[in-house]
């Protein structure tokens, strides 16, 4: 999978990270965790279906992999885009292993979303949304979550997923149609939370 041609952002401008001193690498990694930790955890939570423990594991594993790969980061992609690509892949990997464990039954500990884990909103509605997302294809789910829930642009999403923008738009459209059909009653409920989607951006 080739790197996308974007720039490093947020951590020092467009540059490759080759040849960084260990201390500076550490500082940049700390900055990456500080600035993207919460969003990475939330993105992972949404991609793994609302499982808080799995989301933390996915986010931490993504940071760990990013740290290992940071010295080889070539500065051809936005660092954040590169990092979220790792998060998305890690979440997909988690879902595959979870599916395999469930298929093989009793091999390892099957994981399922923890309903007691702290989360916003109505637990029943949360569960319905998780199930509806589960029924999408992997790419549809990733695209919907990244763009509509996490506020990524189509371009950023295309870079993060390594897919053409047109493909991303197509997945997004299909995901929205399917989810709206499945969760049509959400449009009938009384007023959204004050502030709307702004809390979803970071």
């Amino acid at each position: 999978m080739g790197a996308s041609s974007v720039r490093v952002d947020g951590l020092g401008g467009a540059e490759a990270l080759d040849g960084l001193e260990a201390g500076e690498l550490e500082a940049r990694f700390t900055a990456l965790v500080a600035s993207h930790g919460e969003r990475a955890r939330r993105l992972a939570w949404r991609l793994v279906g609302g499982d808080a423990a799995a989301a933390e594991d996915v986010a931490q594993e993504a940071f760990l992999r990013a740290y290992r790969s940071l010295p080889r980061f070539r500065g051809e992609a936005a660092l954040s885009t590169w990092f979220y690509r790792i998060v998305v892949r890690q979440a997909a990997s988690h879902r595959r292993w979870r599916g395999l464990r469930e298929r093989m039954g009793g091999w390892g500990d099957p994981e399922s979303p923890d309903p007691a884990a702290p989360a916003a909103g109505d637990p029943a509605l949360r569960r319905r949304i998780a199930v509806a997302l589960e029924r999408l294809t992997r790419r549809q789910r990733e695209v919907f979550v990244l763009i509509h829930l996490e506020g990524f642009t189509v371009r950023e999403t295309a870079a993060a997923l390594g897919r053409p923008e047109g493909t991303v738009k197509s997945h997004l459209h299909r995901a929205l149609v399917r989810l709206r059909a499945e969760l049509s009653d959400l449009g009938d409920r009384e007023g959204p939370r004050p502030g709307g989607r702004e809390g979803g951006r970071s």
Binding site: G37, A117, A130, L133, I147, G151
Partner: protein
């Protein structure tokens, strides 16, 4: 209604935007507070300090499933080799045809499906890190008829 922050996105109708806002509100974890962020960072630090990966460790999960399959394959190969080997002179009169039930052992013992192989090895292959795969992957994959 188009999103000025996301000009490349398909235009959304107002009701789509409202519906999405409700999904967004309903499907999110509680944000971490200060102590939660500190715990997250501490656990990450601990994970980084305790996990010094080696190439072998990276393959460990796959090895958990590969090992039994490889063992079965090795046994089948050994049986096949033994049956194909030139008969010793003292057995020159013995029939050459191997026992059919022994030759069928490998596919029957193989528990992994192509899908499971993809699950286990997909990331490695997707990432183009073919060099991380066991050297005998191609042989094993061929035995399981993985394209």
């Amino acid at each position: 209604m188009s999103d000025p922050r996301n000009p490349g996105a398909p235009s959304r109708r107002d009701d789509d935007a409202l519906w999405i806002a409700r999904v967004d509100d309903a499907f999110r974890p509680e944000p971490l507070d200060e102590s939660g962020r500190a715990r997250f960072a501490a656990r990450l630090r601990e994970r980084m300090e305790t996990r010094r990966p080696t190439p072998l460790a990276r393959l460990a999960p796959a090895a958990m499933v590969l090992a039994p399959a490889a063992t079965a394959l090795a046994l089948a190969a050994a049986v096949g080799w033994a049956l194909r080997a030139p008969a010793p002179q003292v057995r020159a009169a013995a029939p050459e045809a191997p026992a059919p039930q022994a030759r069928a052992a490998a596919p029957a013992d193989a528990q992994l499906t192509a899908w499971e192989w993809e699950v286990l090895l997909g990331d490695t292959l997707d990432a183009g890190r073919d060099e991380d795969l066991p050297e005998d992957y191609a042989a094993i994959a061929a035995a399981f008829r993985i394209p």
